[in-house]
């Protein structure tokens, strides 16, 4: 049990007062029910630990799906001054630019009801997944460097999708400042074989149906209609991203010792944004982020092809359009109002999703009045939410909201709880076809291992950090 002091501010916010070495207070967005669970792990302490980092601005934040992470909690958000602040690989996480993309189709639920198994098996055949999976693409070292700089654009230029896809990808699918020289040979080596693979664990590719629409205006802007079929893809930067994080953590642990900086946790290793070490990490992180965007672009391309093949339909008739692609593990330089003036800050979102408001200049024209689409993946078989960004998130949480359900059971507990049960059968009883490369993954990912997604989303909706637009229900799921 955490001995951290928590003061309730209002229905959805708890404050951790700035004590000891904390430079700012912590603020946790949650509900009474979710806080009962959150108090059991070390995540409130981690919120407080992040507040020790130099140059942190306003507060150390956590979203309602907060759970225990490395250094930063999962669900943590923190912004740092570019002059005296830091960047921390632990504030981004191992899976750099883990994120989601959502595709809509012209199909209705009744069109696919009898073909669901075929579609799911087709996706399982056509999209590489599983532990240590390798993709069908072998990148040359030259091409890999292009992927790291150009991101999703490289994929589009090489036949994986259309230029229109880039318009609805965060940052156009390529983050600026990527420098392959800052990425180790080891990371490059791991990246060459895995481009175009889903991975394992909580990553998935899911056929979903729009079940409930909460905001008709925004849903129309996003192309979501009740009963419409959509596909959600949740994946990241694979081994390349893990290696970049690992390399820089080790390097920055050493770097921190050369500075006069007391950190409560070694995993919070960081470097000043003005230092060569800090700049190099950001350049390497951007490479991994771009790799992830290329990866999801390719996964989406094969999803489209797989639907065409299984249903014998043309791309025009299927109309598979990218609604949006947004990441939830990243550090970005963004501009926010601070004491009435626009200030550029380095915002860390670790298991938190960007949620920019209507009118923000980074949004594609079609989303200018609705706000940014926010994609919240659920646990296996539960479905997902689509939300829209708000002014309040921009003002309070550096334009950030939750990223998912958040675990409540350890993987071992989930495996134990699922003993003697057939998870595919249970899913089938709920009307969900599940295919997985590893049986163990299915056991570890059972729905009860996660917080209640409805509750998490209800908190961010009612606290004003994003607006509920639609809820999607799972129909077919591919797990790694």
């Amino acid at each position: 049990m955490s001995d951290i002091k928590l003061e309730k501010i209002d229905e959805f916010r708890w404050r951790i007062p700035a004590e000891g070495g904390m430079r700012v207070p912590g603020i946790i967005y949650s509900s009474d029910r979710l806080m009962k669970g959150a108090g059991k792990d070390e995540s409130p302490r981690q919120v407080a630990n992040v507040a020790h980092l130099p140059g942190i601005v306003k507060y150390s934040l956590a979203m309602p799906d907060m759970h225990w992470g490395y250094g930063f909690p999962i669900g943590g958000v923190a912004a740092f001054s570019l002059e005296d602040g830091v960047v921390s690989p632990g504030g981004v996480g191992y899976d750099i630019n883990c994120g989601c993309r959502l595709l809509t189709t012209k199909l209705r639920e009744e069109d696919v009801r009898d073909r669901l198994r075929d579609l799911t098996v087709g996706l399982f055949r056509d999209v590489p997944s599983g532990v240590g999976s390798r993709g069908p693409i072998r990148l040359s070292p030259q091409d890999e460097r292009r992927v790291l700089v150009e991101g999703a654009r490289w994929a589009v230029e090489n036949g994986f999708g259309t230029p229109a896809d880039l318009e609805t990808t965060e940052d156009g699918g390529a983050m600026a400042g990527a420098d392959p020289e800052t990425v180790s040979d080891r990371a490059l080596e791991r990246g060459r074989e895995q481009l175009g693979t889903l991975g394992s664990g909580n990553h998935f590719l899911e056929i979903e149906v729009v079940g409930e629409v909460f905001d008709r205006g925004a849903a129309a802007a996003f192309g979501l209609e009740e009963g419409g079929i959509a596909v959600m893809i949740h994946s990241g930067s694979r081994g390349l991203g893990y290696q970049v994080c690992d390399d820089y953590l080790a390097r920055l642990v050493r770097h921190v010792r050369t500075l006069d900086m007391e950190l409560p946790d070694r995993q919070l290793a960081c470097a000043h944004l003005t230092s060569p070490e800090g700049r190099q990490y950001l350049a390497a992180m951007a490479c991994a982020a771009n790799y992830a965007w290329a990866n999801r672009q390719m996964l989406m391309h094969w999803t489209r092809e797989s639907f065409q093949r299984t249903l014998g339909m043309s791309p025009r008739d299927l109309g598979m359009q990218l609604v949006y692609d947004v990441c939830h593990n990243i550090a970005k330089i963004e501009t926010f109002p601070l004491d009435g003036k626009p200030v550029r800050l380095c915002v860390h979102r670790k298991g938190a999703t960007r949620a920019f408001p209507p009118g923000h200049k980074s949004l594609p024209p079609r989303y200018r009045s609705s706000g940014q689409p926010v994609l919240i993946p659920g646990d296996m078989g539960t479905g997902s939410y689509v939300l829209a960004g708000t002014e309040k998130a921009f003002a309070e949480t550096f334009g950030s909201t939750c990223h998912g359900a958040g675990r409540v059971m350890s993987r071992a507990q989930a495996t134990k709880a699922s003993r003697g049960r057939s998870i595919p059968q249970e899913m089938s009883a709920r009307g969900v076809v599940v295919m997985a490369a590893g049986k163990e993954t299915l056991r570890e990912e059972i729905p009860e291992a996660y917080k209640n997604l409805d509750e998490v989303v209800s908190v961010v909706d009612r606290a004003g950090l994003s607006r509920k637009v639609a809820k999607l229900r799972s129909l077919g799921c591919i797990k790694g």
Binding site: G69, Y70, Y94, R134, Y242, R266, S410
Partner: protein, 139 residues
């Protein structure tokens, strides 16, 4: 003698490793990680490999050593077995191990271990001289 056990950690997996000496502890830790990564094949190991790492203190050295084992697995598809620590000081370690190159299908891989973390990494010695180490793996 039990050389290691796993313990639970919300999203992840911890290993607690035992050794009669510090040298044995490091060897057991590496074998525990290899054991979690994949089942060994039936073919005899391909050849002998040498792994070295450095660290600023005990936990740092252990984490860096395990990161080497993990990199060999991910980067070179090399599963190391029968790991013998040949050189160990406060800040350096070298070990020799039999290595098996796993096939491309990854047929006997057990789980994806993303990383060896510094979080709560510890080394301790009890009154009877027995060593215990704890490390959390991001899975």
């Amino acid at each position: 003698m039990t050389t290691y056990r796993t313990f639970d950690h919300t999203a992840d997996l911890g290993i607690e490793v035992y050794g009669r000496t510090r040298k044995e502890l490091f060897g057991h830790a590496a074998e525990a990680l290899a054991d979690l990564l994949a089942d060994p094949g039936t073919d005899p190991p391909d050849r002998t490999f040498r792994i070295c790492a450095t660290g600023e203190d005990g936990p740092d050295l252990l984490v860096n050593f395990l990161r080497e084992i993990l990199y060999q697995f991910h980067g070179n598809r090399l599963l190391l077995r029968q790991i013998r620590v040949t050189h160990l000081t406060k800040n350096e370690i070298c070990a020799e191990a039999e290595g098996e190159v796993l096939d491309c299908t990854g047929g006997h891989r057990r789980r994806e271990v993303k990383a060896v973390t510094y979080h709560q990494a510890s080394l301790s010695r009890d009154g009877s001289g027995r060593w215990t180490a704890r490390v959390i793996l991001d899975v």
